[in-house]
Amino acid sequence: MFVLQAHDIYKKFGSLEVLKGVSLQVQKGEVIAIIGPSGSGKSTFLRCLNYLETIDKGKIEINGEIMVSNGPNGHAVYSSDREISKMRRSMGMVFQNFNLFPHKSVLENLTMAPIMVKQMDRSEAEDKARELLNKVGLAQKVNNYPFELSGGQQQRVAIARALAMEPDIMCFDEPTSALDPELTGEVLQVMKDLALEDMTMIVVTHEIGFAREVADRVLFMDDGLIVEEGTAEEVIVHPREERTQAFLSKVLMAR
């Protein structure tokens, strides 16, 4: 049973075609890494999966429920807002720029959505939040505000905030790209721990090392298409496609 299926996704921004028929099936517990050059459409694809962008054509199913599929005229037709928001509840999202709420303490950042959206009572939400902060190694920052934390700490809070909603699938959109190099390790470690707990994860990343070490499956995207797909070993170590080889040699050379 797939927790997420995307079939033949097309998406245009104006006249620019960003996605030209992208498909992905994700099984429970799978860790998918999506790599590729800037402008390849990988972030857009991820954002389409949880409705931050709408698609023009294609089909997306989450836990067997159809979020969007092609109507009779061949254009994507979405389910009702109610249904979609129910489906999105099972997806967590971590952004490149953290997007923590600056006016809320670390604890409030984590408890807000469970209290307001899931009607969890405050003390339960706070216990859960403390537990999650402990897990990402930030138990001592409960009462701090985001601006008092380093980028790496902020991103770990953002991960904990997404986890507080108990999602089935965690999406990461270049989670370490905005970080100083010495801070990426702590975020990647938290993500590795999550993967070890069998969290289903879709990670758009430039961290080839992370993809290689943690991902069950690696997708290389370029120019709105999945060019190559397979295990980390297949795609990163022994890429078949020329474009994958060119990209990898560029990225690996830079380090």
Partner: protein, 213 residues
């Protein structure tokens, strides 16, 4: 000195009129301006257009003319408002237009990422506005609103045109009757005390929001 003491009772009664206009305008124009600022960004096109037109109209004409219109203008079409009511109405509508623009730009200055983060956590639009966006907007709009509030203190003097005896008009009456400039100086000191208080109040308010960046 005796002269100043003699002035004070009538100056204070003028001050009362001024303060009443000041506070009533603020109480009505602040929430109205906030709602109008949100409406200007509405996805409902006619609402948005109407707000744009409204702001253009009330920012684009002198407050003095608006006062005259509310009183004399409406009178010619048979709508006779009390002078004070006409004054409040003009002030509220005028200041709401300025405040709407401040709130609009404040809302637009909040990064898109804040909306997206709230969205993926499942907050609806109203929850997002109320809990995520507006609290941050308020911190950002405090300095420009402080400016407007100080302007408001001084603009209250304009209602002399409707022959309402606010502070500056009382002073002028004394100047003309007594042939001395002193009442103007006393009035100026009153205004300085009021604007000084506003300034201190906003300084304090801004410091209340220092706990985050």
């Amino acid at each position: 000195m005796d002269y100043i003491l003699m002035l004070l009772p009538s100056m204070f009664s003028g001050l009362t009129v001024t303060l009443k206009l000041f506070f009533l305008t603020l109480i009505a124009a602040l929430p109205l301006g906030m709602l109008m600022g949100i409406a200007r960004l509405s996805r409902i096109k006619p609402l948005k257009w109407f707000m744009e037109f409204y702001v253009w109209l009330f920012r684009g004409t002198p407050l003095l003319l608006q006062l005259l219109f509310m009183y004399f203008g409406l009178m010619t079409i048979g709508l006779r408002l009390e002078r004070e009511i006409a004054a409040y109405l003009a002030f509220v509508l005028n200041y709401a237009a300025y405040l709407a623009e401040i709130f609009r730009s404040g809302i637009q200055s909040i990064p898109q990422g804040q909306y997206e983060a709230a969205d993926v956590l499942g907050l609806n639009r109203i929850q997002t506005m109320k809990n995520i966006i507006l609290p941050q907007v308020i911190k950002r709009v405090l300095p420009p609103i402080g400016n407007e509030v100080i302007n408001l203190v001084k603009d209250t003097a304009l209602i002399y045109i409707l022959a309402i005896s606010e502070l500056s008009r009382v002073a002028r009456t004394h100047v003309m009757r007594d042939g001395t400039f002193v009442p103007f100086i006393v009035a100026a000191i009153f205004y300085l005390i009021m604007t000084g208080a506003v300034q201190q109040f906003f300084k304090w308010l801004e410091s209340k929001f220092d706990y985050y960046r």
